[in-house]
Amino acid sequence: MNNFKVKNPRKNLQFEILFTKAYREAVKTYTHPAQIELACLKAQFPAIFHPIEPQDLLAGRMQMGFVGLGIQHQTGGFGFYMNEEEVVKALEFGSGDARYREDLHDLLTYWKGRNTNGIVLRNIPAHIKPLLFSDQWRHLPLPASPILRMAGAYIDFDKLVKIGLPGLEQEVASFREKAVKAGGDVILFDSMLGVISLVKEMCVFYADQAQAQASEAAGRGDSKRTQELVGIERALRNIAIKAPASMLEGLQLVWLYGLMSPLIEYGRLDEYIGDLYVHDIENGVLTEEEAVQLTMSFFRLIDHLDCETDGRVIVGGYGRRNPENADKMCLVAIEASKNVKEVLPQFTLRFNKETPAAVWEAAQRCIEAGRTYPLLYNDDVLVPGMMKAFDVDRKRAETYMPLGCGEIEFDHYSFGTPNGSMNTLKILELAMRGGYEPMTGWKLGPTTPKLADCKDFDEFLRYYQQHLTAYIQAQAEFEVYEYEITGKMHPFMMVTMLYDGCLEKGKAIFNGGCEYLAGTLELYGNVNAANSLAAIKKTVFEDKTITAEELEAALLDNFVGHERIWKLLQDVPKYGNDDEFVDAVFVKLHDFLSETVKRQATRVGLKSYLAVTINNAQNTTLGRWVGATPDGRKSGTPMANANNPAPGTDKKGVTAMLNSILKPGHDNHAGMVSNLRFTRENFTQSRQKMWGLVDNYFQRGGAHAMISVVGKEELKDAMAHPELYRDLIVRVGGFSARFVNLKKDVQQEIYNRVTY
């Protein structure tokens, strides 16, 4: 679980006890989920807020409880949640009087059966349960796992900033009137109005706090801080009664609304703040430097959510209504991202052939400074790709938004939470054994002949595809099921109010409100699976240098005592070297997966259901539960990350690697990530050439790149933990090579040489 970065974390579970009490009361008093949700929000706010900290230029810090109402695990949990482990810890190691402990015991037993996660898991439809029986992917050798959450809400911040809380209130009120006349869900609208009132109250709550802090600051003669706090106070009082009129007010509203929703993606910042920023500069409300400082504070607050893989802020790209002002704000945001040396926000630049040179140059400098941000997304590849993948028009496709680790959605229009993960290498391990899991002896999925009983490679490939298809189908059905059960339980009103179509329909987002309800399936292990298929094809069926039985025995022994076989497997070409044979196997597998996943949408009743191949630590975590594989990978070791070659297998250098990763297309899935890591020396010595290389990659169809530029400290770390730096490219006497592929002495020499 993430730790919210607040100065004085709560020391006991009094909030959790009070929240439980409030929820208990609510379910006795109300029947409508919106009323229950409103009661829960009232119990949560301001209780989980933390004070404005001395460096904050915007108000709003929080610490989600171990029990509460959230939307995904980084917001405490999904739906009504309980962090059982922490509650038990408080009982086992915490202090407190008898009454407190009694309440904790009660809380534990109360939520055990009532938390949303548990309810979803207990009610998984019987026909998919045999394949998706657990979500404990960290601890069990699962070929596929459901993920419980509603991730990726990108609400209409632009509208919120434009109309403010009073405008939103008016809009909800007018739809309420219509609902009264037409016999719609009036309680839902009433509850929404209650939520807006609560947000206004919280503006006043923090305004009072800022006022109190301001007089303290004045008391100690700190005029700068006094002024800042007075500014915050004024902004908060203003946004409670009218639409934001300055950059400060706009960001304050976005931040407080987002915090309470709770959101962890912060949308197209340059679009929704651009006009106010330009207004403030033109009217002398803010200086450039103050605008950067304010944006930095906003970024630090996003970082305080500590939500690792999310916290996206997106700038640039087609489809903004105010490109000129937005591009100006874009430069401010890049400067802020360069200065805030934290993990979050995951600052993202969408670019295209119209991106101003100044923006591109600023982004390059930010990346060169070793920030890794902005993450680069190429509109000219992705917009046409997404039109096809999602079957939407160009205008819609131009609003694409990568969420979390890189799944694509459309701004405040589609919802495509990734609610399943699938380990294609693990499934290959099963398919080779006819469906048996070698660690546990579980029999999972379809019953097919073992590899040894296959006449040719195509026959085995068909069986493997059968296994894959079974899990894909189950995951698609699970996605729909999770939406259905969530729709009944959770209106998530703060998201609903600012998602297209929900107010018009008078329905909560997951209860029929969302215009484009979609889904995504996270794939892991594809590269290793393709390498393994190529190895099986070549050694077992074409060259016949290894029998299927020998292969199985070698895998079970982790190749120990089977060195001849291991060497033969290693010598089969690997993805990442621009090798036609294996790259074709990879592309074929990738397309099979993408198309099969895509086909599920109409079958299960989603607008789209698409595969994603993304970046996070699951290639390592899931790899832990896969034995040795035919690509020569040893038991339990990490799998390749995203679309990148498997560790140590791309031996032909960067150009060949890029050629390989350019082969899969981008029009049948919802995101595929590529990582490039260079040393700073590459850029100090050959800046133009390096950016030429990146530019060339994008011009040839590269959709995405995450470029890390590492310095001396990281090189040292790379020597100690090569597994974490598999994608690091260094200059070795004038040419580039993968750091981890170099011999230790050469690594040491490079480390000695790289001086900044």
Binding site: E563, K567, D578, L693, D695, G733, F735
Partner: protein
Amino acid sequence: MSPTKELSAIIFDIQRCSLSDGPGIRTDIFFKGCPLRCDWCHNPESQAASAVLAYNPQLCRHCGACVQACPNGAHTISATNATSGTVGVMLHAIDRTKCTGIGECVKVCCYGALELVGELYTVDELAKEIQIDLPYYAIGEGGGITYTGGEPMLQVEFIEACIDRFPGVHMCVETSGYAPSESFLKILPKIDLFLFDYKLTDVAKHEYYCGVGNELILQNLHLLHEQGADIVLRLPIIPTVNDDEGHFRAVASLMRRYPRIQYAEIMPFHSLGEGKLERFGLSPRMHQYPVPTPQEVEGWRTRLKALGVLDIRIS
């Protein structure tokens, strides 16, 4: 016409995305075989014309597969200091006099500890490898292929055939200058740029440190200049060997005499090659050389500038 044997050459490395051996992004082709024996050489594995076996003790697990595979008995694995109950320290020894470079041991080594450096390529095979990099030659001012080594000028026929496969691609040769003048004349029209090494001014010193004199080298430099070739003069500067005033003055005088040399490029000594001697079982250097600091390298540039060499780059 009698059937000719298919052209081939031993190549010990293909480096892609090379950033400093000519303009743009380049593919460096490293040929084996060099007539020089520069004591500081950072690619000592390139000197012999035939394939060399490389051994990396850090990766060896002493599995013994190579011992079985070698028909010449070049590998032995033994345990030393074994006391009762311990296996002691495992030692993998290679008798280089028995190794014929056939690479049977490499075929069975699955830990990457053994590697055969130098592989026979036909023009077709090499062209296929180069093909991978073609999309990158369009980047920036334009890249291309750099033939280096070893001494690529010992393989002009092969290089010519290779050049013909890629019309319009920028071609570069990096040379010690120590090759028959006819070879230079033959290949000259097809080469866009020569990266020409100038190592030592004093003939006796050149013989001592590099194994040959520098007369032929200077003669070829003169020839190339006369013929209108594009040249970059590359200056390996080895502290204690050639960082002296006499050599710097000689460089300045060469630059004056040959005004069409584009610029001079300092190649400061680095120690990347050191670990290689052991790995390839080569005899140690005659001398140890200090690695210059960036300040020292800057100092060389300043000194050359003072002598009138204005366009100097540092590699």
